[in-house]
């Protein structure tokens, strides 16, 4: 495992192995094998784009849904959490401390889509005792990237 490589990739998944090698003062071969090893053991799970869907016509609708779940003997919340994870509509599933048990984010094309998914799929899962759905109105930051900020940081083009 190489934390420095991970940090660079976390900021910019498109950074080439050549650039990573240069930036960290490593051999190219070393970088390539470190990355494939981290992919193999599942430390690196994928390389996705950060997209501001609000700028795209017919943008998607997302909601955060708080679930209360009755844990099962032996399995706890695992079984329900993994089951919910398998829906393609579901973007993330997390076990929470506090009032609710699971937080699920769901993406659909319309408000109605998402509502229907919650009512017909999530709410009826065995063990789920309640759902509370909150629709996302606007995103300001995603994956550490500020979606509303503009390029210009006020530094100008040249200063000595």
């Amino acid at each position: 495992m190489n934390i420095k490589i991970l940090k660079l990739l976390e900021n910019n998944a498109r950074m080439s192995p050549e650039s990573i090698a240069a930036a960290l003062g490593m051999e190219l071969g070393e970088v390539v094998s470190e990355i494939s090893e981290m992919e193999r053991v599942g430390i690196i799970r994928g390389y996705k784009g950060v997209i501001d869907w609000e700028k795209v016509d017919g943008a998607a609708v997302s909601a955060i849904i708080e679930l209360k779940v009755v844990p099962k003997a032996q399995l706890g919340f695992e079984e329900v959490a993994e089951m919910i994870s398998r829906y393609p509509e579901v973007e993330s599933v997390s076990l929470m401390s506090g009032a609710c048990d699971l937080i699920v984010t769901v993406k659909g094309t319309t408000f109605r889509d998402v509502s229907a998914f919650v009512a017909k799929e999530l709410a009826v899962i065995d063990g789920v005792t309640s759902t509370a759905t909150q629709f996302i109105m606007r995103r300001y930051k995603e994956f550490g990237v500020e979606l509303t900020s503009t390029e210009d940081d006020g530094r100008g083009k040249i200063s000595l």
Partner: protein, 399 residues
């Protein structure tokens, strides 16, 4: 009509505006420029520091502070400088908080200079030392440091520049624009030359937090025999990404500091109060943030240097600050021509080395205070530009 030429001070009028003003104007007028041209961090001031500034405003801590600066801040500075650079200063009489490192440099030069005194300035270096010396009535004596010495100041060069009129040496390391540093051994050799003289060292250590590789910055004040002749200058702009807060400091033996203080007291009163409260927090809680930023700069530094070397340009390894200083002599263009062409053809802005003194000619200053994505795109365009230049040269030869 007033003849302004007769009204204004001769000294001021004789000071030239930056030699590359034309280039600046062109860059400013162009849109969509990708710049590697600025001398300030892209990182934001750490949140806890901004928050401390806001808190001080909420509490209405908005009055003048002591002329020297808040006592709590001077204590922190004294502790910080001792902890980081092994230089000991009494917080109540040997530390002065200033409006950026810039003010401290001005104070130091003015405090030691009598008319006609010589101030030695190694170049290429930041542009303020020469005009400030002239404004103080001094005579700048330039040492052109050399690329083959990694732009370090050598004891031979220093000895040669010293005359009986020499009053002070400016020691601007780590250096803007070259990224050069002076390691302990280098400083010891300089100390050897100065130890039995009355020459004062004005050590501008504003980039001290930004040195890369194995060795952290060594302050000349920590070299035996140098403390008593050194005015150590540092500030918050580069290390803590606090350029706009305008806060720096000078440390030195009491008899020197007392004189700097007099000028500061009459010209400035005190450094901005809000910034002083914020700076206390910077010194107390930002070690980790600073080291994270240093690590990020280091990755960008390697990437930038590697990029230029792959393009076939000589690029000495910068060991400090946040600039690379590759040589463009192989293109046959002057540094200003190179930068202008690059700007017109590829819309990339870098600074001609000649802006930092004659000895900077033939180099360009490339700032890596930008995201890796931004740096890579700029390097790609510079690479294209070099390919074009080479192709044009070959065609010309063929003709």
């Amino acid at each position: 009509m007033i003849d302004y030429g007769k009204v204004l001070s001769d000294v001021v009028q004789d000071i030239k505006p930056s030699g590359i003003r034309r280039f600046f104007d062109i860059a400013a007028s162009m849109d969509d420029v990708i710049s590697l041209g600025v001398g300030e961090p892209d990182f934001r001031t750490p949140w806890q520091v901004r928050s401390a500034g806001i808190r001080s405003l909420e509490r209405a801590n908005t009055r003048y502070t002591s002329n020297l600066g808040l006592e709590a801040l001077r204590r922190e500075i004294s502790e910080y400088v001792r902890r980081k650079y092994s230089a000991k200063y009494e917080p109540l009489s040997e530390v002065l908080v200033t409006v950026g490192g810039s003010e401290a440099i001005d104070l130091a030069i003015r405090a030691v200079t009598n008319p006609g005194d010589e101030i030695i300035i190694p170049e290429p270096s930041y542009v303020c030392y020469e005009p400030m010396t002239k404004l103080a009535g001094g005579v700048p004596v330039i040492i052109n440091t050399k690329a083959e010495n990694n732009f370090k100041l050598t004891p031979e060069e220093l000895s040669e520049a010293i005359t009986e009129k020499t009053k002070a040496l400016i020691l601007p390391y780590p250096t803007n624009p070259t990224g050069a540093i002076m390691e302990k051994g280098d400083l010891e050799k300089i100390a050897e030359v100065l130890r039995d003289t009355n020459i004062i060292v004005i050590s501008d250590e504003i980039y001290a937090e930004l040195t890369f590789g194995e060795h952290r910055h060594v302050s000349v004040a920590s070299i035996p025999g140098m403390w008593e002749r050194t005015i150590l200058i540092n500030g918050f702009s580069k290390a803590f990404s606090m350029t706009g807060w305008r806060l720096g400091y000078a440390c030195g033996p009491k008899p020197l500091l007392t004189q700097l203080m007099k000028i500061h007291q009459y010209a400035i009163m005190c450094a901005p109060t809000t910034s002083q409260y914020a700076a206390i927090e910077a010194l107390r809680s930002c070690d980790e943030v600073v080291s994270d930023m240093r690590e990020e700069y280091d990755a960008r530094r390697r990437l930038t240097v590697d990029g230029f070397r792959k393009m076939g340009l000589e690029c000495p390894e910068p060991k400090g600050a946040f600039y690379a200083f590759p040589s463009i002599k192989s293109t046959g263009l002057s540094s200003e021509e190179f930068c202008e062409e690059l700007l017109y053809r590829k819309k990339v802005a870098v600074v001609p080395g000649c802006a930092f003194g004659e000895s900077g000619e033939g180099h360009i200053r490339v700032s890596y205070c930008y995201s890796i994505m931004h740096i890579e795109e700029a390097l790609r365009r510079i690479g294209e530009f070099l390919d074009e230049l080479r192709a044009e040269k070959t065609t010309q030869k063929a003709k």
